[in-house]
C-alpha cells in the first residue's frame, strides 16, 4: 500500500514509517499540515495517518479540507488528543478511524489494513466459510466438519466479524468497537475471555485452530 504519514514528532514519525515499511508498505512522511494537503490531493495514497497537532494547518482542518475537495482517501487520526469529544470531532471532520497515542504498533497496522481494504461494493454473501467451518447468515447456523455448533448471539456476531475479515488481524479494541459498539478499552481482559469461549466451541473439539492469536496485536481467522 502507499501511505502518507503526517506527523511533526520526529521519533514517532520514524517509528511509524519504519514499522510500516517493514510490513511492505510504501511510506511518505510530511511534517507540515499545509504541505500535507497538496501531497494528499495529488499523491494517490491508499491511506493517510494524520496527527492532530501539526504546524501550518492542524490535522482536523486538513482532513476537513480534503473531504471538501472530494478526496476520499481513508484517514486514520493518530494523536495524543484523546478525549471523548475529540474522538467524535475527528470522526465528524471526516476521519475514518481514531487512534490515541501511545499506541501499540500492531494496533495501528491492523487499523490501517482495515481502512485501506474497504470493499468497493458490499457483496452480500449468505454463507461465510473458513476451512471446514461454515456460517449460514440467513439461517444463523454454524457447522464445522458437518457438526452443528450452538453459539450465543454475541459469539455469532464475533465469529461473523472475524470471518468477514478472513486473513486480517483484528485487535481487541477493533472487536470491542465492532461487536459491542464500545469505543474505550476496558482494563479487564474481556475480549480474551469471549474469544476463548468462542474457541472452546468452534476449535477445541477439532484438530485445527481457526482463530489465531497474533502476538501484540489481536486475532485472525485463517482460511
Amino acid at each position: 500500500m502507499k501511505l502518507l504519514v503526517i506527523e511533526d514528532d520526529r521519533a514517532t514519525a520514524d517509528y511509524v514509517a519504519n514499522g510500516l515499511r517493514q510490513e511492505g508498505h510504501v511510506v511518505d512522511h510530511v511534517v507540515d499540515g499545509r504541505e500535507a494537503l497538496g501531497q494528499a490531493m495529488s499523491g494517490g495514497y491508499d491511506a493517510l495517518v494524520v496527527d492532530r497537532m501539526l504546524p501550518g494547518l492542524d490535522g482536523l482542518s486538513l482532513v476537513k479540507a480534503l473531504r471538501a475537495a472530494k478526496v476520499t482517501t481513508p484517514v486514520i487520526f493518530l494523536t495524543t488528543v484523546g478525549g471523548v469529544d475529540d474522538r467524535i470531532e475527528g470522526l465528524q471532520a471526516g476521519g475514518d478511524d481514531y487512534l490515541v497515542k501511545p499506541f501499540a504498533f500492531g494496533e495501528l497496522s491492523a487499523r490501517i489494513q482495515a481502512l485501506a481494504r474497504r470493499p468497493a461494493a458490499a457483496i452480500q454473501e449468505s454463507v461465510l466459510t473458513a476451512g471446514n467451518l461454515s456460517m449460514d447468515l440467513l439461517r444463523r447456523k454454524v457447522t464445522r466438519a458437518g457438526q452443528e455448533i450452538d453459539l450465543l448471539p454475541r459469539e455469532f456476531a464475533l465469529l461473523e466479524h472475524l470471518l468477514r475479515r478472513k486473513g486480517r488481524v483484528q485487535t481487541r479494541t477493533m472487536l470491542l468497537e465492532a461487536v459491542w459498539d464500545i469505543s474505550f478499552d476496558p482494563q479487564t481482559n474481556v475480549v480474551e475471555t469471549h474469544i476463548s469461549r468462542l474457541r472452546a466451541k468452534i476449535d477445541k473439539p477439532f484438530d485445527k485452530e481457526l482463530i489465531q492469536t497474533v502476538r501484540g496485536a489481536g486475532y485472525r481467522v485463517d482460511g
Binding site: 521519533a11 471523548v84 476496558p186 479487564t188
Partner: protein, 478 residues
C-alpha cells in the same frame, strides 16, 4: 442550612422580609390605635355616666317637697305626660302598690322591674340607669335611658373598624406587593447560590441595573464566584497542561521502547525488561489519559450531545461483556432482573458505558475471588437507580468520601492494579448527568448507587423521541 427549594410558594411569601415588616408595622399601628381609642372611650363614657347621675339627682330633688302620696302621684303623672319613657322614666309607686307616671314598676324583691304602661308609650331598648327613693310612704323611681352610652359605643366601634381595617388591608397589600416584587430577585440570588454550591462556578446573579441592597449583594456574590472560578480554572488548566505536556514525552518513550523491544531477541531477559518498561509507560499514559478525560468531562461540553439513552440496555451490554471474564477469574457477576421496557435517562451512551465498566472493574479489583457482584437498574418515584453491589470487604464509612478523590486509594489496595481514577471518573460522569453517586454499606460489602433524574420529571426535558440503540455495526471497517 435552609433549603429554599423545599418551601411552598405561600410559606416562601410569608417568610419574606417585606411581609414580615408589613405584619410587624400593622401590629404596632393596631395596638397604638386601640389604646388611644380605648382611652378616649373610657374618658367620654365616665363623663356621660356622671351627667346621667346628676340628672337623676336633680329629678329626685324636684319631688322632695311633696310628702302626701296623692299630691306626689298627681305631680308625677303630670310631669310624666311631658316625658318620653324612651329617654326618661318617672314613676311613683303609691303605698297601695299602684304605679303613677310613664311606666309601671313591679317590685321583685329588691329588684325593680319596669313595664310599659297600658296604652302608654314604648320603653327604650337600651336599658336605664334607675334610682329609687322612698318618698311620701311610697317609692319614687326615676330612670335615665342608657341610649347615649350605647350610641357612643357604636360610634367608637365604627371608628375603630374604619381606622384599623383599611390600614391593615393597605399595609398588607403593600407588603405582599413588595414581597412579590423582591421575591423574583431574591429567588434569583438563591438559585445562583444553589448553583454555585453545586459547583457550577459559571452561575452569576448579573447586574439588574438597580442600586439597592439586593443588587449590592448580587454583585458581591458575582465577584466571589468570579474569583473562585478563576482559581479553579487556573488549577484545572495547570493540571490539564501538565497532563498534556507529559503525555507527549511518555508517548515518545513508549515508541522508543517498542522500537527497542522489536530489536531484542524473543524470550531474552532484555526483551522481558523492555516489555515491562512498555507496560509501565502505557500505565503512566493511561493515568494522564484518565486525568485529561475527567477534566474534559468536568468541562461539560458533552452535555450538548445528550440524547435519551436506554440505561437498561447499556447495563445489559456491559453485564454480558464482563460476565465471562468475571467467571473465569472466579467471580459471580449477575444482572438483576431489569424493569420491563426501556429505562430512559438523558445522557451520553459512551460515558454511561464507561461509568458502568469502571464500577464493575472497581468491584472486580477490590473484592477477593469468589465474591458476588450484582449489577442492577431500578426505577423509584424520583430516580432511575443504577447499582453495583458486592459482598467484599467494603469501604469503612469514614473512607467513603475519600475514595472519590482523584488518585486516592485505600492503603490496603495500593498493591492491586488500577490508577485510583476509576471512581473519580465515575463521579465526573455522574455529575455531568446530574446524577448522585452514593456509596453505602451492603452488609457486607460495598453498594454503589448512581441516581439519575427521571427524564420528563421537573426540569429534565426529553428532546426528540427515544433513540433506539444501533445494531452492532458489523461492516464499519472492511
Amino acid at each position: 442550612m435552609g433549603k429554599p427549594g423545599r418551601l411552598t410558594p405561600l410559606s416562601r411569601l410569608l417568610g419574606s422580609t417585606p411581609i414580615r415588616l408589613a405584619v410587624g408595622l400593622i401590629a404596632v399601628f393596631a395596638t397604638v390605635n386601640i389604646l388611644s381609642l380605648g382611652f378616649a372611650w373610657l374618658q367620654l363614657r365616665s363623663n356621660v355616666e356622671k351627667q346621667i347621675a346628676t340628672n337623676l339627682d336633680q329629678q329626685i330633688a324636684g319631688f322632695r317637697m311633696a310628702d302626701d302620696p296623692g299630691t306626689l302621684a298627681a305631680r308625677v303623672d303630670t310631669e310624666a305626660m311631658a316625658v318620653d319613657p324612651e329617654t326618661r322614666i318617672l314613676v311613683f309607686v303609691a303605698p297601695g302598690g299602684e304605679s303613677f307616671g310613664n311606666a309601671r314598676v313591679q317590685m321583685r324583691g329588691r329588684e325593680i322591674d319596669l313595664e310599659e304602661r297600658e296604652g302608654g308609650r314604648d320603653l327604650g331598648d337600651d336599658g336605664y340607669r334607675l334610682r329609687s327613693v322612698a318618698m311620701a310612704q311610697g317609692l319614687l323611681v326615676v330612670g335615665e335611658s342608657l341610649a347615649p352610652i350605647r350610641d357612643m359605643e357604636e360610634t367608637f366601634l365604627g371608628l375603630l373598624v374604619l381606622s384599623i381595617i383599611p390600614t391593615l388591608l393597605i399595609s398588607l397589600g403593600a407588603g405582599v406587593w413588595m414581597a412579590l416584587a423582591s421575591a423574583r430577585r431574591v429567588g434569583h440570588v438563591e438559585a445562583t447560590l444553589e448553583q454555585l454550591a453545586r459547583g457550577n462556578l459559571f452561575a452569576r446573579v448579573a447586574d439588574d441595573g438597580r442600586d439597592d441592597d439586593l443588587s449590592r449583594i448580587g454583585a458581591g456574590i458575582d465577584r466571589m464566584a468570579e474569583a473562585q472560578g478563576a482559581a479553579m480554572s487556573a488549577l484545572r488548566q495547570v493540571s490539564t497542561d501538565i497532563a498534556h505536556d507529559l503525555k507527549t514525552p511518555i508517548q515518545r518513550m513508549s515508541v522508543l521502547l517498542s522500537d527497542l523491544r522489536a530489536r531484542l531477541a524473543e524470550g531474552s531477559a532484555e526483551a522481558g525488561i523492555a516489555d515491562q518498561a512498555v507496560a509501565e509507560a502505557d500505565h503512566a499514559a493511561s493515568v494522564f489519559q484518565s486525568l485529561l478525560m475527567i477534566a474534559q468531562i468536568e468541562g461539560g461540553s458533552a452535555k450538548s450531545r445528550f440524547v435519551c439513552v436506554d440505561l437498561a440496555q447499556v447495563a445489559a451490554t456491559f453485564a454480558e461483556i464482563y460476565t465471562p471474564a468475571a467467571e473465569d477469574s472466579g467471580y459471580h457477576l449477575t444482572l438483576e432482573p431489569l424493569p420491563g421496557g426501556p429505562v430512559p435517562v438523558r445522557g451520553d451512551k459512551v460515558l454511561l458505558g464507561q461509568l458502568i465498566a469502571n464500577l464493575i472493574e472497581n468491584a472486580l479489583r477490590h473484592t477477593p475471588t469468589g465474591s458476588r457482584i450484582v449489577l442492577g437498574i431500578a426505577r423509584d418515584s424520583q430516580d432511575v437507580v443504577l447499582t453495583v453491589s458486592d459482598d467484599g470487604p467494603g469501604i469503612p464509612a469514614p473512607e467513603r468520601a475519600n475514595v472519590l478523590r482523584r488518585l486516592y486509594r485505600l492503603e490496603h489496595s495500593r498493591t492491586t492494579p488500577g490508577n485510583g481514577l476509576g471512581l473519580s471518573l465515575v463521579q465526573a460522569v455522574a455529575d455531568l448527568h446530574d446524577a448522585r453517586l452514593i456509596l453505602r454499606d451492603n452488609h457486607p460489602g460495598l453498594r454503589v448507587e448512581v441516581r439519575f433524574p427521571v427524564p420528563g420529571a421537573k426540569g429534565v426535558g426529553i428532546a426528540g423521541s427515544f433513540q433506539k440503540d444501533d445494531p452492532p455495526p458489523t461492516d464499519r471497517r472492511q
